[in-house]
């Protein structure tokens, strides 16, 4: 009999305690940010997308070798006249494969390939997900290695 009454009293008391906690939050301001009117400030190391600055890229292909899913494709050819000059004809990053692990950015000697905080990217088809950083038919001269 005593446990029976004690159970009932405990039940009522603990229920009221729980209700007090939720009532406390009923009157506190909520933490929602109403996107797109209010946006979250990303920290500087944020890894939301991959980009490459071809002006300082030395075409060493270390990023292509480091990538675990092989999403970077680079084609390099040498200038037939001047053996020291190298040109890149293709620099593709396949974003359907990239897992934003930044294993390509760490060994890059010039910091050309880097992570950006751009997270609002939209692709309408599979083909669009492959970013061609060098347009069809163009050649970009590889920067001199330090």
């Amino acid at each position: 009999m005593r446990t029976y009454l004690k159970d009932i009293c405990l039940a009522v008391i603990t229920v009221l305690q729980s209700m007090r906690v939720t009532l406390h939050y009923l009157f506190r301001p909520s933490i929602t940010l109403q996107y797109p009117d209010e946006k979250w400030q990303l920290p500087e190391r944020s890894r939301s997308s991959l980009a490459v600055d071809l002006d300082i890229c030395t075409a060493c292909k270390i990023c292509q070798l480091s990538c675990p899913v092989e999403c970077i494709s680079i084609d390099v050819e040498r200038d037939p006249q001047d053996k020291k000059k190298r040109y890149m004809t293709r620099f593709d990053i396949d974003f359907s494969k990239c897992m934003l692990c930044s294993l390509c950015c760490d060994p890059c000697p010039s910091g050309a390939i880097h992570m950006t905080p751009i997270y609002e990217r939209v692709f309408s088809s599979r083909d669009e997900m492959v970013s061609h950083f060098i347009k069809e038919g163009e050649r970009i001269k590889a920067a001199a290695e330090k």
Binding site: M19, T22, L23, R28, T32
Partner: protein, 346 residues
């Protein structure tokens, strides 16, 4: 109220229509009015539930539709539900599947016939008011079993069985608590019960003696179980049975179940306000319309408490539900009945 309307409307149109036809027209119009009232209330409750749940959970809830805090959200939801495809699962018992939501909604709707909102604002002043309400609200259980069986889905069947057991068991403590009030007011008629509480807040039945306070508590919790709300919502337990007996329903049919649940919530809160909280009598209130508003405000507060409980407590398992009903609520309800009756004699 029918006689009131008859006196006002009949003389001008007596030349056109015979009396019986006029009566039928008036009855349909009044039914439509009650339905509109329920619809508006349900729309408001859906919005209120979403807002209350959001603020308890540190979120914002609807903010966009219609501008100010998303007040048009329930309207948008209703339109969406109405335009959905009407799916009757293959292998389902078609007639029962289609009939079930109407039965549940009908029983919820029929309760409002006997509920008075003010001294003269009622549809039918039954002298067995509360008895009729108890009887007709049990019809919802039949509708739920029909829905669960006709869905041809094991999960729905489990939910329906649980729900039937629950509703039938909780009738007992709820009826005993109502009996407590009836004994004090010496009448089954809802209007006379409210009249017995006139004259100040200390005359409300909830404050009359500790046994009626207990009766109010048990009535409130028992009525939560009647309308399948958390912590007694095993039959629509989202995390186990997906949606219980109304898993297979979509579109208009689902919205009928939805409507019935909120209508039940409001009906049960109104009954609690009428029986225990002084009905349409409040401070500084004498006439009809403010009285109705006061009653609705009291019912709204009780509905808010129901929503508050929903978002706080985990749900009880079926056998624990039964244990709580038969081993806790029924003895306490008996205790309150006997205690209140004894104190009345003294």
């Amino acid at each position: 109220m029918l006689t009131l309307i008859k006196e006002i409307i009949y003389p001008p149109v007596s030349g056109f229509l015979p009396e019986s036809l006029l009566l039928i027209v008036i009855m349909f119009a009044l039914a439509g009015l009650v339905f509109a009232f329920i619809l508006l209330a349900v729309l408001f409750f859906t919005w209120m539930e979403r807002k209350v749940s959001a603020h308890i959970q540190s979120r914002l809830g609807p903010m966009y539709t219609g501008g100010w805090h998303g007040w048009m959200q329930p309207l948008a939801d209703g339109i969406k539900l109405l335009t959905k495809e009407d799916i009757v699962p293959a292998g389902a018992d078609r007639a029962l599947f289609i009939l079930a939501p109407f039965l549940v909604l009908g029983s919820a709707f029929a309760v409002y016939v006997a509920l008075p909102l003010g001294g003269r604002l009622f549809l039918a002043d039954l002298n067995i008011g509360i008895y009729y309400i108890l009887a007709i609200s049990s019809l919802g259980a039949v509708g739920i079993i029909m829905a669960g069986w006709a869905s041809n889905n094991k999960w729905s069947l489990l939910g329906a069985m649980r729900s039937a057991a629950q509703i039938v068991s909780y009738e007992v403590p709820v009826a005993l608590c109502i009996l407590t009030v009836v004994v004090i007011a010496s009448s089954l008629s809802l209007r006379e019960i409210v009249e017995a509480q006139a004259g100040g807040i200390y005359r409300w039945f909830i404050f009359r003696n500790p046994f009626t306070f207990l009766a109010f508590g048990i009535y409130f919790l028992g009525s939560l179980a009647e309308v399948n709300r958390n912590p007694f919502d095993m039959s629509e337990a989202e995390s186990e049975l997906v949606a219980g007996f109304h898993t297979e329903y979509s579109g208009i049919r689902f919205s009928l179940f939805f409507l019935a649940e909120y209508a039940n919530m409001l009906a049960v809160s109104l009954i609690a306000a009428i029986l225990f909280l002084g009905g349409w009598y409040g401070p500084l209130v004498d006439s009809e319309i403010p009285g109705a508003l006061v009653l609705i405000l009291k019912a709204l507060f009780l509905v808010f408490v129901q929503m508050w409980l929903r978002f706080t407590l985990p749900r009880l398992r079926v056998d624990q539900l039964m244990h709580v009903c038969w081993k806790v609520f029924v003895p306490l309800a008996f205790l309150s009945l006997i205690g209140a009756s004894v104190l009345e004699l003294v």
